[in-house]
Symmetry: C2
Subunit: 83 residues, 2 copies
Amino acid sequence: MDKWEERKRPIRLERRFEFENYEKTRDFLDRLGEQCEAVNRFPDISFGKTYVNITLRPDNQQSEDQISEDDYKFAEDIDGLLD
Amino acid sequence: MDKWEERKRPIRLERRFEFENYEKTRDFLDRLGEQCEAVNRFPDISFGKTYVNITLRPDNQQSEDQISEDDYKFAEDIDGLLD
């Protein structure tokens, strides 16, 4: 989890992934899309030819002010999509 | 072309597309990816469950300070990807 940064106002997790080329970027985006659909959770994603930046906001029924275990788990699952 | 906004510092064209659901967002992103590969041009794209935002910077051999006919053409081609 060391590559995800926790930021405030609004509270969120962010990580930037870098890729060698567009093909690898697209492959990752495709896997990411499937993962998002599988868990019905849709973070804000920005990307260019060789990068993908993901912003996860808390998906917490109790509070949007706190990152939960579920959020960290989702971040970890995204890390697992890397080659 | 009325939905693309021309912005400065840096000079660029931007357009936000809204979709009914994630499936339509993904369909558009897939077509957009193919178009980008076809013309070997990779704008910055951000998206969430039901929106896609595209930023086109000038792809001009002579100058990066000016949006060219090619840039407008690329923007128009992207509009053509909508259902």
